[in-house]
């Protein structure tokens, strides 16, 4: 058995790892991983905001179904959510959906549920006095939420959002399961083709994921310190 690792296989395939068959084919590899993560992140920011606000609604008929939905999604493995999407989307839309859209929908639904908890906690962390003061100046409840409470809450939520983005980058690897050619999928392809270098290939992509995720984890920690409200206020 060859005892030393041979990273030639990485150098030989580096373009394929990074961008897939692009520009002669669809975008793939690391670039697609980032694309999936960014698109899902933007969509789940909206989803999380909407679900989070609905989950603290004073209307029971709104609050309870939304809470049930959020907790159901949070109780499931992401893989299960992706399979549901894979199975349900064609039924609902009446046509087949591209795999990458299925994955984006699955990731968005899943991450929105988690983001909604961040939004909820962020809003609940703002003292009640802020709402009361806003209402007493004549603002309507939705105005008080939109102009007074939410902007302050959002500031506190930013580090958690960044952490959630890190989870999303890691979660995009599950797109592999429905055949989307992101980084993990590309790695298994190269592994199947070259046969002899699984150790090198998986160490390499682990390192790629680590670099990007660690960068954002560090950013989140930095923001947490920078954005913390001055305690003397």
């Amino acid at each position: 058995m060859e005892p030393f690792l041979d990273f030639h296989v990485i150098a030989d395939n580096i373009t394929y790892f990074m961008i897939g068959r692009y520009p002669n084919g669809p975008l793939g590899g690391f670039a697609l991983t980032i694309w999936l993560a960014v698109v899902s992140c933007v969509l789940s920011l909206f989803g999380g905001l909407v679900l989070g606000l609905l989950s603290i609604s004073r209307q029971r008929l709104i609050r309870i179904p939304v809470m049930v939905f959020i907790n159901t999604v949070r109780g499931l493995p992401l893989l299960m959510v992706i399979f549901w999407m894979y199975f349900l989307l064609p039924l609902i839309l009446g046509k087949t959906t591209p795999e990458s859209e299925t994955v984006i929908m699955g990731l968005t639904l899943f991450t929105s549920a988690y983001m909604s908890q961040i939004v909820r906690a962020g809003i609940e962390g703002i003292p009640k006095g802020q709402t009361e003061a806003a209402l007493s100046t004549g603002l309507k409840p939705w105005q008080a939420m939109l102009y007074i409470v939410l902007p302050q809450g959002l500031r506190n939520m930013i580090p958690s959002f960044v952490n959630q983005f890190v989870s999303l980058i890691k979660d995009t690897s599950l797109a592999f399961i429905v055949g989307v050619s992101e980084l993990t999928h590309v790695a298994t392809q190269i592994n199947n083709r070259t046969m002899a270098y699984p150790t090198e290939i998986f160490i390499f992509i682990a390192a790629v994921y680590f670099v990007i995720c660690y960068a954002f984890t560090s950013l989140s920690r930095l923001l947490e310190r920078k954005l913390a409200w001055n305690k003397s206020m």
């Binding site: 499931l76 592999f176 699984p198 090198e200």
Partner: protein, 235 residues
Amino acid sequence: MLNYHFDWSIITSGKYFEWLVSGVKVTLELSAISIVFAFVLGLLLAVLRMSQVKPVRYIALAYLEFFRNTPLLVQIFFWYFGSYKILPQAVNDWLNNTNFEFAAAVIALSIYTSAFIAEDIRSGILSIPKEQMEAARSAGFSYLRSMQYIILPQAVRITVPPLVNQFLNLAKNSSLAMTIGVAELTYQARQVESYTFKGFEAFGAATVVYLVISSSITFLVYQYDRRVLNPHKAA
């Protein structure tokens, strides 16, 4: 709305029912075994992470950061496909003679989860006021005995809820083991779906099982919180 014909009888008895039940068993088995290893490893890492010796502390930190910031799926593939080149021959021989898919999943899940558990344990210990340690030391306890009799018993109490939640995460994450052919719940649901085209029923059954697992764990944590951590609040 949907052009879909429901047939729940398919999954409530017979072959497909048995597949799903065996899937539930494998999921629980995989999670139960992995959580034990993850806990032991996590405890060890938490201690190393707080060591007075700098290199030890940094090695533990590197381990934690690396395994927390890499996708679990990639870790599973690494252990399953790629670990043979870096493991000793004896370990490879042993692994090849066992159920290797299952073993690789246990290794990956334990190592991944241990990194999260270590942080939970560490923040539990750090949440005990410094004065407790100082008081214990000045009462004549050694560092280790202070940990054993004063700090840890208090830290364990408040670390229970996050640890139980890690078990829940682990049970959910164990679904990734299907990618290397471990026939756990998600795998079996997928199997049933592809044999019968009854996706609603197959995924519905698996969804219910996952929800039962997660809501019972959430309930346990809630009860623990109410009865053990905040008994004065329970009316």
